[in-house]
């Protein structure tokens, strides 16, 4: 029971307090303790042995094709603006934002478009009962496939963007915001919320740059902070300028020592370099206790500012904005180099990889390419996860592309994660041990939610705050009965949303219509069967056989006087009648169907 520490008193209260008294840098402002949380084994060092490896480079060549789903963010799909067979240059726009919360998509390298397909197996996960949770990938994805030509060419005629000519400090805010929008940036931390929308929030007081990467194994942000601290800090300044925040705080977990040093010197460099600051105060560094899940958006906001957005509120509603360090760097690149989001830093780790490392890979790279590069050992693999072991999701198809939101690729062996082969064993019942409630960062009562979800008591679930559950999995990680609590919550949330979408009455309406439809189908089927019988008869008559038993039995009745011709025509009339009836029923059924939609 010691793998996950649940006693966090010292980490949460005593250490920050003492360090603040002692005046250690980074601890100077008061931080607010997060309720709950766990400290799982971090396992981060393995992937931090080397520097970030870029792509394409001598070590990490381009993959032969890139698969770019049109929806890698929250919001509407982007719309393709290229056609199959077309040659695209690196950084060329290939799908344009369209509709609500949509995000541009650019070609990560040069090559030919080979397909724009909605049936790619790699991005269309077969629905499997029992594993419904492939968070970021919706079923029936459309994706653009680029066959790379290996030249990695940028369009030579592409005019220099004005931002490359004039430094960003002298541009108008709207122009900057537009540049972020054009670059197709969405939150790189995991949720994929369009960044441009976040940046248009008004009345922001505090900007928080999230460097608290709390999940085990993931080191993408940490590696980024070590190596690109300057860009991150400057990116933070850009965001701060755009939203007009008074404070800009970079929050980092205290155990990332090198990253902290790098960021500290970057901040110092920024101050001494005497940038035209526009009167804004400097960026501040705040250290937070290394507790999972302090890197969650609302969690970090609470730790640093003490503000708790009410349920259903966005942080921007309370004057706080939170971006991850990766997003800050993407914004920096978009503004200073006019480089759209075509690559991201992602962690390749897990015991099934011989060389765990951080890579800066192109968006759309098939995971198999990255795995191969990192020395993948398929025999050791238990599961391939995208994301960390606490919030990641399972990927079965190794051709699945890297998305804008994929921060980690965990090729987990049995050492890393629980063996999930026993998928048919029922979990134990809740013993109400109450291990789960003290670790919940939202102060929920996980076991109450579990009972509500399990029995689909929606009212009780909502009242007990299931919609505020961040699905961090802390509760499930400590549950001795190993109840897949998060899975229950997700099911329940889906049901609640479904119900809210259609409402109770329309659910009954839908059921009723389904019932009617079934009945209509039945009648049609009966007519169909009659039709077939009659046609059989017709055929047999045409072949000159005896019209049938009935006729023989009823010999002497007027029927016998009928000639075969007569019978045939009668049957034909019957066939016609039945056909007409069937058509009528079918059209009725169609009307029903339309009505129900």
């Amino acid at each position: 029971m010691s793998r996950i520490s649940r006693s966090l008193l010292i980490k949460k209260y005593i250490k920050p307090f003492l360090f603040r008294l002692a005046g250690k840098p980074g601890w100077l402002s008061p931080i607010y303790a997060l309720p709950g949380g766990i400290v799982p084994a971090p396992n981060k060092q393995v992937s931090l042995q080397h520097k970030i490896i870029g792509m394409p480079s001598s070590q990490l060549p381009l993959p032969s094709q890139l698969i770019l789903p049109l929806k890698q963010h929250q919001g509407d799909d982007a719309v393709p603006v290229v056609r199959p067979g077309q040659y695209v240059y690196k950084r060329q726009l290939i799908a344009a934002a369209h509709g609500n919360g949509s995000v541009n998509l650019h070609a990560p390298t040069s090559g030919f478009i080979t397909a724009i397909d909605f049936q790619l197996a790699a991005v269309n996960i077969r629905p499997q009962p029992g594993r419904p949770w492939h968070q970021s990938i919706d079923p029936r994805q459309t994706a653009i496939v680029i066959k790379t030509d290996g030249n990695d060419l940028t369009d030579p005629e592409l005019p220099l963007s004005p931002l490359e000519v004039t430094p960003w400090q002298q541009r108008h805010i709207d122009e900057l915001r537009q540049a972020v929008f054009e670059a197709g940036i969405c939150g790189l931390g995991g949720a994929g919320f369009p960044t441009a929308i976040k940046l248009s929030a008004s009345a922001i007081k505090t900007l928080i740059i999230n460097g608290a990467e709390c999940e085990p194994y993931i080191t993408a942000d940490e590696a980024l902070m070590r190596e690109y601290a300057d860009e991150i800090v400057e990116g933070s300044r850009i965001i701060q300028t755009i939203v007009g925040a008074q404070d800009c705080v970079i929050g980092i977990e205290e155990d990332k020592h090198e990253a902290i040093k790098a960021i500290q010197s970057a901040i110092a460099g920024l101050e001494s370099a005497n940038h035209p600051l526009g009167g804004l105060p400097v960026v501040k560094l705040v250290l937070v206790p290394a507790i999972y899940p302090s890197g969650g958006e609302k969690q970090l906001i609470r730790i640093i500012t003490g503000i708790q957005p009410m349920s259903g509120q966005r942080p921007s509603d309370v004057g706080v904005l939170c971006h991850s360090v990766a997003t800050a760097r993407a914004i920096f690149k978009a503004i200073t180099d006019a480089e759209p989001l075509i690559s991201r830093v992602t962690t390749l780790t897990g015991s099934a990889l011989r060389n765990p490392v951080n890579v800066e890979a192109l968006i759309g790279t098939p995971l198999s390419h990255l795995l191969q590069f990192a020395g993948f050992d398929p025999s050791a693999l238990e599961r391939l996860l995208v994301g960390g072991p606490l919030m990641g999701y399972v990927v079965d198809d190794f051709e699945t592309p890297l998305l804008k939101t994929s921060n980690c690729l965990l090729a987990a062996s049995q050492q890393d994660i629980q063996s999930v082969k026993a998928s048919s064993v029922p979990h134990r019942d809740c013993i109400r041990c109450d291990f789960c409630a003290p670790v919940c960062p939202v102060k929920l009562q996980p076991q109450t939610l579990y009972f509500a979800s399990r029995h689909q008591r929606h009212d009780s679930a909502v009242q007990n705050g299931i919609l505020d559950c961040i699905e961090c999995g802390a509760c499930a990680a400590v549950c001795p009965s190993q109840i897949p609590l998060v899975a229950y919550y997700r099911d329940e949330k889906a049901l609640i949303h479904e119900e809210a979408d259609c409402g109770e009455s329309s659910r009954w309406q839908a059921l009723f219509e389904k019932h009617q439809q079934r009945q209509a189908d039945n009648v049609v089927a009966v007519q169909q069967r009659k039709l077939e019988k009659l046609q059989d008869k017709l055929v047999s008559i045409a072949e000159g056989e005896n019209p049938g038993k009935e006729a023989a039995v009823e010999s002497g009745s007027p029927v016998t006087h009928k000639s075969a011709e007569q019978i045939k025509s009668e049957i034909e009339a019957a066939v016609a009648r039945t056909r007409a009836r069937k058509a009528e029923l079918l059209s009725k059924a169609d009307i029903n169907k339309d009505g129900s939609q």
Binding site: I38, G130, P389, D429
Partner: protein, 365 residues
């Protein structure tokens, strides 16, 4: 059952604890007390333990079979063994075998499975079984063969001597005596009906006071030493549980605190025979096992921290009241059962507000 299966969903971390692990920790924490109990009161405890464990597992297996659940999967959670051990601690070591057998039957069927199994039980199974036995067989349940000599009725139940072992065996299995299977027959009459509290309360204040004046050493195998050592070993086991975070401090600390507070408050020097000293109240064995092992049963106690505090205080108060003003022979199990019934209500009262919850709770229409 389809919703009841493991699904492939985050988190994927290795489990930090298992039910089996939790229960095994509880069992380990009971080992010191088991040794102590056997040392002072003979192998009667071990006999009871064997009966309750074997029978308990058997009943559990049958019930699981009847309910169509995987038998070994559910036996593997060891919860039945914990119940068996706790019940064995509550039984007098010299009680006949059918007491233990009916006790574990009650614990398993009426304490646990009628409610739906582990986690759904309203009462602590061991406490329920003990109280039922107490009501059904009051004589057997209060008769103890006490170790040592002196003012107590003598019964040679030393676990280290063959004679003591035979005595214990004969006490547990009375038919052995009739069949004369043991080399020496033991005269089984003249046993003391005495748990220390009852003794203090009704019988022999003067004797006790005398014994107290003589002082005692922990190696003396006297009844009083036995009880106190047992209480200490329960407390030690409880500390193991606290350290392993199997239980939280809320319930044991409030129970013990309340009992200590009340007994200090009502303590009158010179009146030990009537109200008992705080020391007696705390170290009368059953307070410790109750506070650390029985009251903390997760299923039948409230789940929130505030709820646990209320629950502990209630148990302590009821326990003390029954002891001093009630006329029942036992107070711990009764008070725990009583307060168990309140825990759903306490849970209802102490629902904690989650972060971001609006101040005014929306009532569902």
């Amino acid at each position: 059952m389809s919703r009841n299966k493991h699904r492939i969903s985050s988190p994927f971390l290795k489990p930090a604890s298992t039910v089996t692990g939790v229960m095994a920790t509880v069992l380990l924490a009971l080992i010191p007390a088991a040794i102590c109990y056997t040392w002072f009161f003979g192998i009667g405890f071990l006999i009871n333990l064997a009966i309750t464990s074997v029978l308990g597992l058997l009943i559990e297996a049958l019930v699981m079979r009847a309910r169509g659940r995987p038998v070994f999967f559910y036996l593997g959670d060891l919860s039945m063994l914990v119940t068996a051990v706790l019940l064995s601690f509550a039984l007098p070591p010299g009680s006949p075998w059918w007491i233990a057998a009916s006790g574990i039957f009650i614990a398993s069927i009426f304490g646990k499975h009628v409610f739906g199994g582990l986690g759904h039980n309203v009462f602590n199974p061991a406490a329920l079984a003990y109280v039922s036995l107490l009501v059904m067989f009051p004589l057997h349940m209060t008769g103890w063969y006490l170790p040592g000599s002196g003012s107590y009725a003598e019964a040679p139940i030393d676990p280290l001597s063959a004679f003591g072992v035979y005595t214990s065996l004969q006490l547990s299995f009375p038919f052995l005596r009739e069949m004369a299977l043991t080399p020496f027959a033991v005269v089984p009459d003249g046993f003391a009906t005495a748990t220390p509290l009852i003794e203090y309360k009704f019988a022999a204040p003067a004797r006790i006071l005398m014994a107290e004046a003589e002082g005692f050493s922990i190696w003396d195998r006297q009844a009083r030493t036995g009880w106190e050592m047992l209480a200490v070993s329960f407390a030690a086991g409880g500390l193991i549980l606290l350290w392993q975070k199997v239980i939280s401090w809320h319930i044991p600390m409030t129970v013990i605190g309340t009992v200590l507070l009340l007994s200090t408050l009502f303590y009158q020097p010179g009146q030990e025979a009537i109200v008992g000293s705080p020391w007696l109240h705390l170290f009368s064995t059953s307070t410790m096992i109750g506070a650390f092992f029985i009251a903390t049963d997760p299923a039948s106690s409230p789940s929130s921290a505030a709820g646990k505090l209320i629950y502990g205080v209630l148990i302590g108060t009821v326990m003390y009241s029954i002891r001093i003003w009630g006329s029942y022979l036992d107070s711990v199990a009764l008070s725990i059962l009583l307060v168990n019934m309140c825990s759903p209500l306490i849970d209802e009262w102490t629902v904690r507000k989650h972060l971001g919850q609006l101040r005014v709770r929306k009532k569902s229409p």
